[in-house]
Protein backbone atom coordinates (compact mmCIF):
# COMPACT_ATOMS: atom_id res chain seq x y z
CA UNK A 1 0.00 0.00 0.00
CA UNK A 2 1.53 3.28 -1.11
CA UNK A 3 0.67 6.92 -1.20
CA UNK A 4 2.28 9.79 -3.08
CA UNK A 5 4.02 12.52 -1.12
CA UNK A 6 1.54 15.16 -2.33
CA UNK A 7 -1.39 12.93 -1.46
CA UNK A 8 0.00 12.48 2.04
CA UNK A 9 0.44 16.22 2.60
CA UNK A 10 -3.08 16.84 1.26
CA UNK A 11 -4.47 14.26 3.68
CA UNK A 12 -2.54 15.90 6.52
CA UNK A 13 -3.95 19.30 5.52
CA UNK A 14 -7.56 18.19 5.15
CA UNK A 15 -8.01 15.18 7.39
CA UNK A 16 -5.35 16.04 9.93
CA UNK A 17 -5.47 19.76 10.61
CA UNK A 18 -8.78 20.69 8.99
CA UNK A 19 -10.96 17.90 10.29
CA UNK A 20 -9.56 18.10 13.81
CA UNK A 21 -10.25 21.82 13.76
CA UNK A 22 -13.79 21.22 12.49
CA UNK A 23 -14.48 18.57 15.11
CA UNK A 24 -13.39 20.93 17.86
CA UNK A 25 -16.07 23.53 17.08
CA UNK A 26 -18.99 21.97 18.90
CA UNK A 27 -16.89 21.72 22.05
CA UNK A 28 -15.70 25.31 21.71
CA UNK A 29 -19.18 26.76 21.24
CA UNK A 30 -20.59 24.68 24.09
CA UNK A 31 -17.86 25.55 26.56
CA UNK A 32 -17.74 29.26 25.66
CA UNK A 33 -21.47 29.45 26.19
CA UNK A 34 -21.43 27.40 29.38
CA UNK A 35 -18.46 29.25 30.84
CA UNK A 36 -19.76 32.66 30.06
CA UNK A 37 -23.21 32.11 31.52
CA UNK A 38 -21.99 30.18 34.54
CA UNK A 39 -21.92 33.24 36.76
CA UNK A 40 -19.13 34.69 38.85
CA UNK A 41 -15.56 33.54 38.19
CA UNK A 42 -15.38 31.38 41.31
CA UNK A 43 -17.93 28.96 39.86
CA UNK A 44 -15.50 27.60 37.22
CA UNK A 45 -12.55 25.59 38.43
CA UNK A 46 -9.13 26.87 37.44
CA UNK A 47 -8.28 23.52 35.95
CA UNK A 48 -11.27 23.65 33.62
CA UNK A 49 -10.46 27.19 32.55
CA UNK A 50 -6.82 26.26 31.95
CA UNK A 51 -7.82 23.21 29.91
CA UNK A 52 -10.22 25.25 27.81
CA UNK A 53 -7.54 27.87 27.17
CA UNK A 54 -5.33 25.07 25.89
CA UNK A 55 -8.24 23.78 23.78
CA UNK A 56 -8.83 27.16 22.12
CA UNK A 57 -5.12 27.77 21.55
CA UNK A 58 -4.93 24.35 19.91
CA UNK A 59 -7.88 25.26 17.69
CA UNK A 60 -6.20 28.50 16.62
CA UNK A 61 -2.94 26.66 15.91
CA UNK A 62 -4.81 24.02 13.88
CA UNK A 63 -6.58 26.76 11.92
CA UNK A 64 -3.27 28.42 11.08
CA UNK A 65 -1.63 25.11 10.16
CA UNK A 66 -4.58 24.30 7.89
CA UNK A 67 -4.56 27.55 5.92
CA UNK A 68 -0.78 27.86 5.77
CA UNK A 69 -0.29 24.30 4.55
CA UNK A 70 -3.16 24.75 2.10
CA UNK A 71 -2.01 28.07 0.65
CA UNK A 72 1.75 27.64 0.70
CA UNK A 73 2.28 23.91 0.17
CA UNK A 74 -0.71 22.38 -1.63
CA UNK A 75 -2.06 25.34 -3.60
CA UNK A 76 1.17 25.74 -5.64
CA UNK A 77 0.85 22.08 -6.69
CA UNK A 78 -2.82 22.64 -7.51
CA UNK A 79 -2.23 25.71 -9.71
CA UNK A 80 0.93 24.49 -11.47
CA UNK A 81 0.84 25.40 -15.16
CA UNK A 82 1.32 22.50 -17.58
CA UNK A 83 3.99 22.86 -20.29
CA UNK A 84 2.64 23.72 -23.73
CA UNK A 85 1.31 20.69 -25.55
CA UNK A 86 0.58 18.64 -22.43
CA UNK A 87 -2.39 16.38 -23.05
CA UNK A 88 -2.42 14.46 -19.77
CA UNK A 89 -3.53 17.07 -17.23
CA UNK A 90 -3.80 14.69 -14.28
CA UNK A 91 -0.75 16.30 -12.67
CA UNK A 92 -2.21 19.79 -13.06
CA UNK A 93 -5.50 19.88 -11.10
CA UNK A 94 -6.49 23.49 -11.87
CA UNK A 95 -5.95 23.06 -15.60
CA UNK A 96 -7.73 19.71 -15.50
CA UNK A 97 -10.83 21.27 -13.92
CA UNK A 98 -10.82 24.25 -16.30
CA UNK A 99 -10.47 21.99 -19.33
CA UNK A 100 -14.14 21.01 -19.21
CA UNK A 101 -17.28 23.12 -18.72
CA UNK A 102 -18.61 20.23 -16.60
CA UNK A 103 -15.85 20.67 -14.02
CA UNK A 104 -14.71 24.31 -14.36
CA UNK A 105 -17.19 25.42 -11.70
CA UNK A 106 -15.28 23.43 -9.11
CA UNK A 107 -12.41 25.83 -9.66
CA UNK A 108 -14.29 29.03 -10.49
CA UNK A 109 -16.63 28.76 -7.52
CA UNK A 110 -15.13 26.12 -5.24
CA UNK A 111 -11.43 26.94 -5.18
CA UNK A 112 -11.88 30.69 -5.68
CA UNK A 113 -14.23 30.82 -2.67
CA UNK A 114 -12.28 28.37 -0.53
CA UNK A 115 -8.88 29.98 -1.00
CA UNK A 116 -10.07 33.31 0.40
CA UNK A 117 -12.79 32.54 2.94
CA UNK A 118 -10.61 29.97 4.71
CA UNK A 119 -8.43 32.80 6.08
CA UNK A 120 -11.32 34.12 8.16
CA UNK A 121 -11.13 31.04 10.40
CA UNK A 122 -7.64 31.52 11.90
CA UNK A 123 -8.17 35.26 12.34
CA UNK A 124 -11.47 34.61 14.12
CA UNK A 125 -10.18 31.75 16.29
CA UNK A 126 -7.06 33.67 17.31
CA UNK A 127 -9.31 36.48 18.51
CA UNK A 128 -11.61 34.04 20.28
CA UNK A 129 -8.68 32.34 22.03
CA UNK A 130 -7.22 35.68 23.09
CA UNK A 131 -10.51 36.98 24.48
CA UNK A 132 -11.12 33.77 26.41
CA UNK A 133 -7.58 33.74 27.80
CA UNK A 134 -7.93 37.38 28.81
CA UNK A 135 -11.39 37.18 30.35
CA UNK A 136 -12.18 33.51 30.98
CA UNK A 137 -15.28 33.13 33.15
CA UNK A 138 -15.51 36.92 33.36
CA UNK A 139 -17.09 36.74 29.91
CA UNK A 140 -20.27 36.21 31.92
CA UNK A 141 -19.95 39.88 32.89
CA UNK A 142 -19.49 41.02 29.27
CA UNK A 143 -22.59 39.96 27.38
CA UNK A 144 -21.76 41.85 24.19
CA UNK A 145 -18.23 40.47 24.14
CA UNK A 146 -19.60 36.96 24.55
CA UNK A 147 -21.97 37.54 21.62
CA UNK A 148 -19.07 38.70 19.46
CA UNK A 149 -16.95 35.69 20.43
CA UNK A 150 -19.76 33.26 19.64
CA UNK A 151 -20.48 35.01 16.32
CA UNK A 152 -16.85 34.81 15.25
CA UNK A 153 -16.74 31.15 16.27
CA UNK A 154 -19.81 30.52 14.10
CA UNK A 155 -18.26 32.41 11.16
CA UNK A 156 -15.04 30.42 11.56
CA UNK A 157 -17.13 27.24 11.49
CA UNK A 158 -18.90 28.37 8.31
CA UNK A 159 -15.62 29.34 6.64
CA UNK A 160 -14.10 25.98 7.57
CA UNK A 161 -17.17 24.10 6.34
CA UNK A 162 -17.00 25.89 2.96
CA UNK A 163 -13.26 25.34 2.62
CA UNK A 164 -13.39 21.74 3.84
CA UNK A 165 -16.43 20.80 1.79
CA UNK A 166 -15.08 22.19 -1.45
CA UNK A 167 -11.65 20.81 -0.62
CA UNK A 168 -13.11 17.31 -0.44
CA UNK A 169 -14.92 17.71 -3.77
CA UNK A 170 -11.91 19.29 -5.48
CA UNK A 171 -9.74 16.44 -4.34
CA UNK A 172 -12.27 14.03 -5.77
CA UNK A 173 -12.48 15.61 -9.23
CA UNK A 174 -8.87 16.77 -9.52
CA UNK A 175 -6.68 15.23 -6.84
CA UNK A 176 -3.32 16.74 -6.05
CA UNK A 177 -0.96 13.86 -6.69
CA UNK A 178 2.67 13.33 -7.47
CA UNK A 179 6.04 13.36 -5.83
CA UNK A 180 7.84 10.47 -4.27
CA UNK A 181 5.82 7.30 -3.63
CA UNK A 182 5.72 6.39 0.05
CA UNK A 183 5.15 2.71 0.79
CA UNK A 184 3.06 2.41 3.93
CA UNK A 185 3.21 -1.39 4.04
CA UNK A 186 3.73 -4.22 1.63
CA UNK A 187 2.20 -7.69 1.45
CA UNK A 188 4.79 -10.41 1.85
Amino acid sequence: MEISFRDMITVLHGMGFGTLFMLAFSGAIGVIHATSVAGPPASSSRWHVRMFRFYLISMAVLAWLTVLSGAYVIYPWYRAVPPAGTTDLSGYPRSLLLSSPMTSGWHNLGMEWKENIAWLAPIAMTMVAYVFIKYGPQLALHRHMRNAVLTFTAVAFFATAVAGGFGAFLNRYAPVRGGQAIILFQDE
Binding site: P76, W119, K134
Partner: protein
Protein backbone atom coordinates in the same frame (compact mmCIF):
# COMPACT_ATOMS: atom_id res chain seq x y z
CA UNK B 1 -18.30 56.29 13.97
CA UNK B 2 -17.46 57.54 17.44
CA UNK B 3 -16.01 54.76 19.53
CA UNK B 4 -14.26 56.86 22.11
CA UNK B 5 -13.78 55.25 25.48
CA UNK B 6 -16.87 55.79 27.60
CA UNK B 7 -14.68 56.92 30.51
CA UNK B 8 -13.48 59.94 28.55
CA UNK B 9 -16.93 61.25 27.66
CA UNK B 10 -17.71 64.56 29.34
CA UNK B 11 -20.71 65.13 31.56
CA UNK B 12 -22.76 62.59 33.47
CA UNK B 13 -22.02 59.01 32.56
CA UNK B 14 -24.79 56.75 31.30
CA UNK B 15 -25.66 53.67 33.29
CA UNK B 16 -22.49 51.62 33.25
CA UNK B 17 -22.62 48.29 31.48
CA UNK B 18 -22.26 45.03 33.30
CA UNK B 19 -18.63 45.00 32.20
CA UNK B 20 -17.88 47.79 34.65
CA UNK B 21 -18.75 45.73 37.74
CA UNK B 22 -16.20 45.96 40.52
CA UNK B 23 -13.36 43.53 40.01
CA UNK B 24 -14.10 42.93 36.35
CA UNK B 25 -11.52 43.65 33.66
CA UNK B 26 -12.11 46.63 31.35
CA UNK B 27 -13.64 45.59 28.05
CA UNK B 28 -11.13 47.60 25.98
CA UNK B 29 -8.63 44.79 25.27
CA UNK B 30 -11.43 42.45 24.20
CA UNK B 31 -13.06 45.17 22.09
CA UNK B 32 -9.72 45.88 20.42
CA UNK B 33 -9.30 42.20 19.52
CA UNK B 34 -12.88 41.98 18.21
CA UNK B 35 -12.73 45.14 16.10
CA UNK B 36 -9.27 44.24 14.77
CA UNK B 37 -10.58 40.82 13.69
CA UNK B 38 -13.35 42.64 11.81
CA UNK B 39 -10.84 45.01 10.20
CA UNK B 40 -8.59 42.11 9.19
CA UNK B 41 -11.53 40.16 7.77
CA UNK B 42 -12.75 43.14 5.74
CA UNK B 43 -9.21 43.78 4.51
CA UNK B 44 -9.11 40.17 3.32
CA UNK B 45 -12.36 40.66 1.43
CA UNK B 46 -11.28 43.95 -0.14
CA UNK B 47 -7.88 42.59 -1.15
CA UNK B 48 -9.43 39.41 -2.59
CA UNK B 49 -11.90 41.47 -4.61
CA UNK B 50 -9.27 43.98 -5.75
CA UNK B 51 -6.95 41.15 -6.75
CA UNK B 52 -9.73 39.60 -8.76
CA UNK B 53 -10.98 42.78 -10.40
CA UNK B 54 -7.86 44.83 -11.16
CA UNK B 55 -5.06 43.19 -13.17
CA UNK B 56 -2.40 45.60 -11.84
CA UNK B 57 -3.35 44.81 -8.23
CA UNK B 58 -3.46 41.13 -9.08
CA UNK B 59 0.13 41.31 -10.29
CA UNK B 60 1.15 43.46 -7.32
CA UNK B 61 -0.20 40.90 -4.87
CA UNK B 62 2.09 38.18 -6.19
CA UNK B 63 4.47 38.16 -3.22
CA UNK B 64 5.44 34.54 -3.85
CA UNK B 65 5.04 33.22 -7.38
CA UNK B 66 3.99 29.60 -6.61
CA UNK B 67 0.98 30.80 -4.59
CA UNK B 68 0.29 33.77 -6.85
CA UNK B 69 -2.12 36.55 -5.86
CA UNK B 70 -3.30 34.65 -2.80
CA UNK B 71 0.10 35.20 -1.17
CA UNK B 72 -0.29 38.99 -1.27
CA UNK B 73 -3.97 38.94 -0.38
CA UNK B 74 -3.48 36.74 2.68
CA UNK B 75 -0.24 38.28 3.96
CA UNK B 76 -1.50 41.83 3.50
CA UNK B 77 -4.75 41.05 5.32
CA UNK B 78 -2.82 39.48 8.20
CA UNK B 79 -0.58 42.56 8.36
CA UNK B 80 -3.60 44.91 8.44
CA UNK B 81 -5.26 42.77 11.14
CA UNK B 82 -2.16 42.71 13.38
CA UNK B 83 -1.44 46.43 12.97
CA UNK B 84 -5.10 47.27 13.72
CA UNK B 85 -5.02 45.04 16.81
CA UNK B 86 -1.77 46.62 18.03
CA UNK B 87 -3.05 50.18 17.56
CA UNK B 88 -6.47 49.51 19.11
CA UNK B 89 -4.99 47.57 22.03
CA UNK B 90 -2.70 50.49 22.82
CA UNK B 91 -5.61 52.93 22.74
CA UNK B 92 -8.14 50.82 24.61
CA UNK B 93 -5.90 48.65 26.74
CA UNK B 94 -7.13 49.83 30.13
CA UNK B 95 -10.50 51.35 29.33
CA UNK B 96 -14.13 50.47 28.88
CA UNK B 97 -15.53 51.23 25.43
CA UNK B 98 -18.99 51.09 23.90
CA UNK B 99 -19.09 47.44 22.89
CA UNK B 100 -22.43 47.71 21.12
CA UNK B 101 -20.91 50.10 18.59
CA UNK B 102 -17.80 47.96 18.30
CA UNK B 103 -19.93 44.88 17.68
CA UNK B 104 -22.16 46.56 15.08
CA UNK B 105 -19.11 47.88 13.20
CA UNK B 106 -17.38 44.50 13.44
CA UNK B 107 -20.39 42.53 12.24
CA UNK B 108 -20.84 44.87 9.26
CA UNK B 109 -17.17 44.39 8.37
CA UNK B 110 -17.53 40.63 8.78
CA UNK B 111 -20.58 40.65 6.51
CA UNK B 112 -18.61 42.67 3.96
CA UNK B 113 -15.78 40.17 4.18
CA UNK B 114 -18.12 37.22 3.63
CA UNK B 115 -19.69 38.90 0.58
CA UNK B 116 -16.41 40.04 -0.94
CA UNK B 117 -14.89 36.57 -0.71
CA UNK B 118 -17.91 34.98 -2.43
CA UNK B 119 -17.07 34.65 -6.16
CA UNK B 120 -20.62 35.25 -7.53
CA UNK B 121 -20.79 38.49 -5.53
CA UNK B 122 -17.36 39.52 -6.84
CA UNK B 123 -18.60 38.84 -10.37
CA UNK B 124 -21.78 40.81 -9.73
CA UNK B 125 -19.79 43.85 -8.60
CA UNK B 126 -17.62 43.59 -11.70
CA UNK B 127 -20.66 43.27 -13.96
CA UNK B 128 -19.61 39.85 -15.21
Amino acid sequence: MDMRPSSSAPGPQPARPVSAQPGSLPNGPGAAAILAAGVGSLALGIFAFAGDAVPAIRRGFIFWTPTGTLSGVSLSAIAVWLVAWFVLARRWGSRDVNLVRVNVSTFLMLLGALLLTFPPFMDLLQGK
